[in-house]
């Protein structure tokens, strides 16, 4: 018995992206009820040099699609990164979830030792699949979903930990 690379990646990513989508739906209802311009929330950030809600959602989805694609050995889907509304962020979440759900376990299982290369601002980073997933993707992915949640909490949205985690 052991964990498979698929179990440790796709279901965890899909679940939290779905939870993030539900949180954004609540944010839209909150903005309407309080007559808050949606852009105020989309542009909100926790510090002047932290990224906005929109960017947090973009990077969470980037991390998720990059993980699924690289572990499966397929091309990373390219997005235009031009979302400027909650509807467009929801579409981005939906297409990322659909992409991940289209990956079969047998494409990802066995990727523990596969070389994975990710572009960075400086030189590319190369990992084996296992440390890439466990020590890079997961902390990064949860970081951006949590920060999106925290930006909305800080701006008054009435959500709680169960909205983030989903039903266990």
């Amino acid at each position: 018995m052991a964990i498979s690379m698929y179990q440790a990646s796709v279901p965890a990513l899909v679940r939290l992206l779905g939870n993030l989508s539900a949180i954004l739906t609540k944010a839209v209802a909150y903005a309407e009820a309080k007559k808050i311009e949606p852009r105020v929330l989309l542009d909100a950030r926790l510090a002047p040099d932290m990224l906005s809600l929109t960017r947090q959602v973009q990077i969470a989805t980037d991390t998720a699609k990059g993980c699924g694609a690289r572990l499966a050995g397929v091309d990373v889907p390219k997005y235009e990164d031009n979302e400027s509304s909650f509807d467009e962020l929801q579409a981005r979440l939906a297409k990322t979830i659909a992409f991940l759900n289209g990956l079969r376990p047998e494409q990802i299982d066995g990727s523990e030792d596969r070389d994975v290369t990710i572009p960075t601002r400086n030189q590319p980073l190369t990992f084996k699949g296992l440390p890439y997933l466990l020590y890079f993707v997961l902390p990064n992915f949860y970081f951006h979903v949590t920060t999106a949640y925290a930006i909305l909490r800080h701006n008054g949205l009435d959500v709680g930990k169960m909205d983030y985690l989903g039903q266990p």
Copy 2:
């Protein structure tokens, strides 16, 4: 080939607890340099009904020690939860890291199907080891470490993503 329960838990938890410790060290230096009363940071929160920095660190360590103990089938170490300074939070992080590092892979590997029960405010939750780790512990743990980081960033601490992630 597959991932072991140990690989997916202890090294990931220890790494981020160490990173959190280093971030708190920077917070102390920042408070001293800016003549900020440490309690201001320890009590800081991102929303009135979110938990303070102190509680975020306590819950991150609770999640980590609970995970290691439950997967290994040993008693969860009891802490008094009375930390009121950065030094005491550092001691809590250090003892949690020491506890996790004292667990041997063979205690944790094979716990995928082990029943794990956690107390909650309502009735206890029971999981198998695998969903407990992947879909409950990890998102929770990263949530609290990220929120601790975000509270300090929001209060002006000059740290960045690499402080959170550590060197990949």
